[in-house]
């Protein structure tokens, strides 16, 4: 995580094409994958990520800090994903190929990959209040304080949610589970 605040997030340059491009490059993967944990479909997650970028483009007030920018973007992603799930517009079709004709969104069936996918499925099966902190912590690499800012919760609460989420994962896993980051 950069320590120096990118100038454009907090003032001059905010909202310019360069700023949007920087955010797109910095966050698009994370936005899509965070949204995926809600909508479980990569095409829909990409659509939601585009909505988030449009919302960012329409924002007329610079952020207070880089941390604020990040928390806002992830919060908007979560809200838009939830709204999407409630909207009744959930697409019933799933694209099986990307624009190059490659199969996408389906896991590799090798033994290692199967194990990884079991972990993925287990995390995605967690209730949202545990799943999101687990995703942001283990996938995004964010600190408990950063996650607390995104979720508008106290850091101690986030810590508790992470611990409970890990315990749930242990119970769900057949064949053993090591929460080595504990």
């Amino acid at each position: 995580m950069p320590n120096i605040l990118p100038e454009a997030a907090t003032g001059r340059g905010f909202g310019t094409n360069e700023y949007i491009r920087r955010v797109l490059e910095d966050y698009s993967d994370e936005i899509i994958r965070l949204s995926y944990t809600y909508v479980r479909n990569i095409n829909d997650a990409e659509d939601i990520a585009q909505d988030v970028m449009v919302a960012l483009m329409k924002r007329d007030k610079p952020f207070e800090s880089y941390e604020h920018e990040k928390a806002w973007i992830f919060r908007i992603t979560i809200n838009k994903s939830k709204n999407y799930l409630k909207s009744g517009w959930i697409k019933r079709t799933v694209s099986m190929e990307d624009e190059n004709g490659n199969e996408r969104d389906f896991p590799d069936e090798s033994a290692d990959k199967t194990e990884e996918n079991e972990v993925l499925e287990a995390v995605l099966a967690l209730p949202e209040k545990y799943r999101t902190p687990i995703h942001l912590f283990y996938y995004g690499g964010y600190t408990i304080n950063e996650i607390a800012a995104v979720l508008h919760k106290k850091p101690a609460t986030v810590g508790t949610l992470l611990a409970r989420g890990r315990n749930l994962l242990k119970n769900m896993m057949i064949g053993g589970f090591d929460d080595e980051d504990d």
Binding site: N17, I20, R21, L24, E25, S28, D29, I32, R33, Y36, I42, E46, A49, Q50, M53, V54, A55, M57, K58, R59, A71, W72, R75, I76, N79, N83, K86, S87, G88, D98, E99, N100, N102, R104, D105, P107, D108, K113, E115, E116, N117, E118, V119, L120, V123, I134, H135, Y138, Y139, H152, R166, L169, M173, G175, G176, F177, D178, D179, E180, D181
Partner: protein, 317 residues
């Protein structure tokens, strides 16, 4: 042995479209272009609105001045009539002071009518609307009890801002106590929900604290609940802190921009949580027990009968 780190690699294995960034850049530039076009339209629209507003203000001003002049003329006529011409007094069938008062009140109504019809009715709460119906009688009573002194002509009064006029009308109607700005803001936001495109549901935790029952609401039902709650919190000072609570019912209304989560708690509080573009705000209101019972009953009967509610109400500790 599976590890939590496998989650990261599994997530990374989910392929994102290679063209996502370029597609999004194209989309954003399209949006920017259409925004700048609509910005021009908006500016034109604003100019039209501004000129229309100025014209409407002129017309209202002219009508007010005219109403003031007519009333002064009428009062002069009556004074002359009671002092000099006995036939006029007879026609009015009342003592001169009373007649003066009644005319005064009618002028007030004309003034209020202009005021309200000029655009503030839409913003009025259902309570205001209800109390507005009884306004004439209330006003008459209030004025008569003030020693039956005719008030000074409105035409001589300085112009009031629209809000102040609304407050004055409400105060005259005797319906709306003074509100706190924060609760008024929250209430106002509930009135502005786009109910035509919202999704709404009530979750009940009455019978089982760990599992909820959910009932979906249509726009009209959601509006009824939102209006009811907005009326209740409009004049209630929010608590300084948001204490922990146990929910009985959770009403969730989401429109295109905001998620409203309204909790009815076991302690008889209403907790309103708004989530707008990632910015969250929460306020806790302790409302009068009878008001709370009304909203609680209205939510309860979505899951049971009136009799069930009475039983529930009688049995709780």
């Amino acid at each position: 042995m599976k590890t939590i780190n496998q989650y990261k690699s599994a997530m990374d294995n989910i392929k994102i479209s290679d063209s996502f960034v370029s597609r999004t850049e194209a989309l954003l530039s399209e949006q920017k272009n259409s925004e700048s076009l609509s910005g021009k339209h908006k500016r034109n629209g604003l100019q039209i609105t501004m000129w229309s507003g100025i014209a409407a203000a002129c017309v209202i001003g002219a009508l007010l001045v005219r109403a003031g002049i007519i009333r002064q003329e009428t009062q002069n006529d009556i004074t002359i009539g009671t002092d000099i011409t006995s036939s006029v007094t007879t026609e009015m069938t009342a003592a001169p002071a009373d007649v003066g008062m009644q005319l005064d009140i009618e002028e007030d109504d004309a003034f209020d009518g202009l005021d309200i019809n000029s655009g503030t009715t839409e913003a009025m709460t259902p309570t205001e609307k209800a109390s507005d119906a009884g306004k004439v009688a209330e006003t008459t009573h209030t004025v008569k009890s003030e020693g039956e002194q005719p008030r000074e002509s409105k035409a001589n009064e300085p112009a009031l801002p629209e809000d102040a006029k609304d407050e004055m009308v409400m105060a005259a109607a005797g319906g709306i106590p003074e509100s706190t700005s924060e609760s008024a803001d929250f209430a106002a936001s509930l009135y502005t929900i786009d109910f035509s495109s919202c999704t709404a549901e009530i979750e009940s935790y009455i019978n089982d604290k760990t599992q909820s029952l959910i009932v979906a609401l249509n726009g009209d039902e959601a509006k009824n609940y939102a209006d009811m709650i907005a009326d209740m919190i409009y004049s209630t000072e929010p608590e300084e802190k948001n204490p922990e609570f146990v929910s009985e019912f959770v009403l969730t209304i989401s429109d295109n921009s905001t998620i409203y989560t309204i909790y009815l708690t076991q302690n008889g509080e209403i907790v309103v949580n708004t989530n707008f573009d990632g910015e969250q705000d929460r306020s806790t209101y302790v409302i009068p027990a009878d008001s709370f019972t009304d909203i609680e009953r209205s939510m309860f009967i979505k899951f049971g009968t009136d009799e069930d509610y009475d039983t529930f109400n009688a049995n709780r500790g």
